[in-house]
């Protein structure tokens, strides 16, 4: 818990939100059917979330305190939390239950928010800017809103000074330095830091039955069943379809100079050059 630095105690309780995602870099498209080939695609910690963990760990290292990693997902998301412990998190909570499944960002933010409340006081929630499977970048702000704390989105640098969060974040046309009261929520981008590799003894210890990972369901966090999972999700998927990739491709051939001339010709026909 954060206390005034002037009192000589300045430990930070940091909560890091972690999502396990399929490694989309490995997802390929079947060239014949145009559908996703998801078989055998490994699950990884969402890349931005690794930077969130690193940011949380560095804050703890300079201030003392605790880092707790929280993830909602299927039971195998335990792997992501083990990795978080391997990197140095003090404890982890896996929110897993059939009732949590099918959640959109609203239901997810409720679930994560409830869990954070259940964990007690916190000074900072750190999350990755966005997940590579959903790309919504909505969870951070929605959790911040649920917890009624200010947010710093897309932070590239952060430090805690005099009981306040000082951060820099990227903007469309510059870098913005902000100051923000604690508790707060921060999302970080990959420019924020270079995540450490797990420390193998800690990583292996995370497989012990007594590793500090709690598994919580809706009752454990006092969640209203109507507000979680598919039931608590106002948005529904009506349909999915693969965008038509097939275009008429014109292949240029010949020597580089010939191709270049042909290309200029085509660009001119299309009024592009």
């Amino acid at each position: 818990m954060y206390r005034d630095a002037r009192l000589g105690v300045a430990e930070l309780d940091v909560i890091v939100l972690v999502k396990q995602v399929p490694n989309t870099a490995e997802v390929k498209i079947d060239p014949r059917t145009g559908t996703l080939m998801r078989e055998g695609v490994e699950s990884i910690i969402n890349p931005d979330d690794l930077h969130a963990l690193e940011a949380g760990l560095r804050l703890r290292e300079s201030h003392g305190g605790r880092v707790t990693a929280v993830s909602m997902g299927p039971p195998q998301a335990m792997d992501a939390l083990r990795e978080a412990l391997g990197m140095g998190a003090d404890a982890a909570v896996l929110l897993t239950d059939r009732a949590f499944a099918g959640a959109d960002t609203l239901a997810t933010s409720y679930t994560l928010g409830k869990c954070i409340r259940k964990l007690g006081r916190f000074d900072l929630v750190v999350a990755g800017h966005q997940a590579i499977d959903g790309d919504t970048a909505q969870i951070g702000p929605q959790v911040a809103e649920y917890l009624d704390v200010p947010q710093v989105i897309r932070a590239t640098r952060l430090e805690v000074r005099d009981g306040e969060l000082h951060a820099e974040r990227t903007h469309e046309d510059g870098v913005e330095a902000v100051r923000c009261a604690l508790p707060a929520l921060v999302t970080v981008t990959r420019e924020a830091n270079k995540p450490r590799y797990p420390y193998i003894p800690r990583l292996m210890a995370a497989f012990d039955p007594n590793a500090p990972i709690k598994t919580w369901g809706p009752k454990d966090i006092g969640a209203d069943e109507r507000l979680i999972g598919l039931k608590g999700s106002p948005t529904q998927v009506q349909k999915t379809f693969t965008p038509k990739l097939e275009k008429k491709v014109e292949k240029l051939s010949g020597q580089p100079a010939e191709m270049a001339r042909a290309l200029v010709g085509r660009l001119k026909e299309r009024r592009l050059a």
């Binding site: 933010s109 590579i132 903007h171 510059g174 999915t240 085509r266």
Partner: protein, 397 residues
């Protein structure tokens, strides 16, 4: 029950007990308790001075018939309305027509009244104007309060934000506060003919899959809309709209985040989303020196230089020039992909380009699947020739 008291935060002040129109709140052990008479109206949420009362009110089924009109939330930057706001108006106009409801522009800021005419001339029927010194550009908390309050009062059926960095951090807060659904970064919006639900289509899986999302039971229906995809309507000079001022009730806590400074010089403004021509490089470019060649080509074409994640990670270009899932989404008239294999993360950010030229030595590179013109050759041989050919052409003119 979708309204509850966070016990840790309750100060025991009893304000909510008086605020509740149904008498559903009582005190026990010095803390507020909400009982089953609660119909989740949210009056207590507003009355609570410590923010201890939370609501997910609208997550329960909303009476959709009470919600009317299409709202677009205007965004200003450096004192000007952003082009994407006009695109939202163009898109919202179509939706409003399909619903046979009004298109309303929401203008919130320190001094924004002057833009109301712009909104009208680009398609708005109503312009809600909210002015307050606290509504500085890019401040999420005060804007979230202003827009949420307005939406609670007016009950729009649809609220659209631009999927700009600001829109994407503001909209989720508003959706959470209203307890309604939000669909990110939509590239297509439409109205279901039968149900009148908003159909929100967005790319998923890095653009390999499109998903159409809707919110049958919750209102308002909210989306952020990818800039550069929708078309603004041509200005219709003299077109009028009802201009309605709305009260803004900011609170001290809305100023919990302060901007200390904006270091503009640190980053040259690179707005790839508005570029007409982009010359982009990937792994095949191989080095910072390699990108010099691309810069030369870009100079001849009047284009912006961009690149893939690898090019950024290798330090060949700056991060603000990254195109793709974790960079910018672009839709220029011409995109020249040099030495880019075309991983889905990259394609998702540029597949919308009108003409794609791909130069790559690997004939099986996925980029060729989406290219219009395929040049299966070494970029270091073709690009110099291309520059020469373009220059020669320039001399002819």
């Amino acid at each position: 029950m979708a309204v509850w008291v966070e016990k840790d935060d309750c100060a025991g002040c009893e304000t909510c007990v008086e605020a509740c129109p149904l008498g559903a709140i009582s005190m026990r052990d010095g803390l507020a308790i909400i009982d089953e008479k609660c119909n989740s109206c949210g009056a207590c949420v507003e009355s609570c001075s410590t923010g201890a009362i939370k609501s997910d009110a609208a997550a329960a089924k909303a009476d959709t018939s009470q919600y009317r009109d299409v709202w677009i939330v205007a965004e200003t930057r450096h004192g000007r309305v952003r082009p994407c706001t006009l695109e939202l108006l163009g898109c919202g106009r179509g939706l409003a027509n399909a619903l046979d409801q009004r298109l309303c522009a929401v203008l919130a800021g320190k001094e924004v009244k002057g833009f109301a005419a712009d909104m009208a001339e680009h398609g708005a029927d109503v312009v809600y104007v909210m002015e307050d010194a606290g509504l500085e550009e890019g401040r999420t908390l005060p804007h979230a309060r202003a827009i949420t309050d307005a939406a609670r009062e007016k009950k729009p059926a649809v609220v659209l934000f631009s999927a700009t960095p600001f829109g994407r951090e503001l909209a989720p807060r508003v959706s959470r506060r209203l307890g309604t659904g939000l669909t990110a970064d939509c590239t297509e919006l439409g109205i279901d003919g039968a149900t009148k639900n908003l159909l929100q289509t967005r790319p998923a899986w890095g653009g390999n899959l499109m998903a159409t999302i809707y919110s049958p039971d919750s209102r308002p229906q909210m989306s952020t809309v990818r800039p550069g995809v929708m078309k603004a309507l041509p200005r219709e000079p003299g077109r009028k709209a009802d201009i309605v001022g709305l009260k803004v009730n900011l609170k001290a806590e809305d100023a919990r985040l302060q901007v200390v400074e904006l270091k503009k010089g640190l980053r040259k403004k690179v707005d790839l989303t508005e570029a007409k021509i982009i010359v982009s490089g990937g792994n095949g470019v191989g080095s910072k020196e390699g990108f010099k060649l691309l810069e030369e080509l870009a100079a001849v074409l009047g284009a912006e230089v961009a690149g893939t994640r690898i090019a950024v990670e290798e330090g060949w270009i700056t991060a603000d020039r990254q195109v793709g899932q974790t960079g910018q989404s672009v839709c220029p008239d011409l995109y020249i992909a040099c030495g880019i294999s075309g991983a889905i993360q990259h394609r998702s950010g540029m597949a919308g380009a009108k003409t794609i030229v791909a130069i790559n030595t690997d004939p099986n590179a996925p980029i060729f699947q989406i290219a219009d013109i395929a040049v299966n050759a070494d970029l270091f041989k073709v690009v110099p020739e291309l520059i020469a050919a373009l220059r020669a052409r320039g001399d002819e003119c």
